[in-house]
Symmetry: C2
Subunit: 281 residues, 2 copies
DNA sequence: GCAATAGTGTCTTTAAGACATTATGCC
DNA sequence: GGCATAATGTCTTAAAGACACTATTGC
């Protein structure tokens, strides 16, 4: 029996198909991106928004509108089927990049979802979910810069605040919730927070990232003591200026090579195949 | 083109198939199970072994010998393809149960593996790995008790010490390493260790479980203080006897309903779809 | 000087490691 | 009584929260 000529009922009985979906976080949408507000269903455009300078209070993520059944018209996570010759990670990267024209700075597998009722109409779908992170430097320039930068948006790709998501296709709402949990728990023991920021940053910015992710305020003095003790920060020697208060030192992130003395605290799941994604450009 | 009449080359170009594999740990092999030693390739039988009383110093896990290509003859993790109408968890449980005739007390998704070179010969295979845990009470009686309990072993199923595994099929060695990591890191913040033990146990037994998993000794006094402070232990009122030293109090495990006062420390990934598996019998 | 944030110092609480001391059942 | 382990207590150190205080810029 041929794949193409099957009826819907026959499709249901096939072995499950596999696809990859990715929850990609950023502290702000990229300049020029299409924004959507789930409540009003109105779309605006990023760029002149004052939130783009400084740290946004919420996390943003890109979604893709489905153009065919099942769940036609609904918003869904970027993703797609796995070609026979492509790594899971590569499929995640490629589909995400096709949607938002940018490469994330970080990518990590999240969880696999495969409940039988995922898609009642069609062939059963097992989804391997990834989560990704766009840092400040990843958001700057689109990979394929349009000659008219603000005009030709794909109307089926938009950025949403994680606080106000629309009704999602499949069980993608569950996947997003899972990704948020993972992001929150990872900030406790890993260095993901750094990846949201640019090459240099102040301690206040780093603290604000943590506050945005955790959703609670942190004592600035204690945070400073903790952050500096971790050994990941190097002073650049420069300071901020133009503020109407005391200027702050700028720091750079450095992967700690070996701990000064003693065992050193390993990443709680260092073997979980995390990926730092770098542009080849 | 029909599924059944494809050549090997044609199979390679198909969308990946999905399967489930499970790493199942126990502190000792079940009585009557077939044991294998990877080094000597000799198989013995569990039962009279003194290790079966008291806590074993290493972890054990069941493997299944493959009876067809690819990797024919190699040992592999219990598992199999996912039927269209079965949950991922259920597939993991069913295939594990078919292999070892017992239900694990705990099951949790581990990670999904899908490198392109996983199986060079046949259709590409994406494996969703689970890890499971057999507690003392799960090891006692086989689900389908043979009339001749020690005779009819499936020769293609055996238990191995995690320290001395044979060469495994596919990338299953990597999966086992992953599962060991997860088990170790989970004992730090969750209550998995309890699940290796029976209904009641002494603090020394609980400590020995942690020592076996972590591979290092723990100060008995400090461990006692910590364990009791977690609020998961209830005295049964009974004591051990027959030892030639001071008898120890017996404790029972209790899921902490709410913390006595304050927020309470959540499980670091409470939403990771863990499963407590109980027999319906 | 004032506003506002950067950065420092100190006190307290809590958790954990090291280790000495007492308790108890069995021989 | 002596052995072996259970159970308790004490001292020390490290980390983290609370919070007062000082420093430095722009206005």
């Amino acid at each position: 029996m041929s794949y193409g000529t099957m009826s819907v009922d026959e499709r249901r009985l096939l072995p499950p198909a596999v696809a990859v979906s990715t929850v990609a976080f950023a502290l702000r949408p990229p300049v020029g991106a299409r924004l959507e507000d789930a409540a009003s269903e109105a779309s605006i455009e990023a760029g002149t928004d004052p939130r783009n300078r400084g740290t946004a209070p919420t996390l943003w993520l890109p979604l893709v509108r489905r153009t065919r059944p099942p769940f036609e018209g609904r918003w869904a996570l970027p993703g797609g089927p796995i070609p026979w010759d492509e790594t899971l990670v590569d499929t995640a990267l490629r589909t995400l990049q096709d949607a938002v024209m940018r490469r994330p700075g970080y990518l990590e597998q999240l969880y696999s979802f495969g409940a039988v009722e995922r898609s009642a109409e069609a062939q059963r779908l097992v989804t391997i979910a990834y989560w990704a992170l766009f840092g400040e430097r990843d958001l700057s320039a689109p990979l394929r810069p349009d000659s008219e930068p603000s005009a030709t948006h794909d109307p089926n790709v938009a950025w949403f605040s994680a606080d106000a998501l629309p009704k999602l296709a499949f069980d993608h709402a569950e996947i997003v919730a899972h990704a948020l949990d993972r992001l929150r728990s990872k900030t406790a023991y890993s260095t993901v927070a750094f990846r949201f920021l640019g090459d240099s940053f102040t301690l206040a910015q780093l603290r604000e990232v943590r506050e945005a992710i955790l959703g609670e305020t942190i004592d600035a003095a204690n945070f400073r003591r903790y952050a500096l003790s971790q050994g990941h920060l190097v002073e650049t020697g420069e300071k901020t200026s133009g503020t109407r208060h005391r200027p702050a030192k700028l720091y750079r992130f450095r992967e700690r090579s070996t701990s000064p003395h003693g065992e050193g605290t390993e990443d709680a799941d260092a073997n979980n195949a995390q990926h730092t994604v770098r542009n080849s450009a």
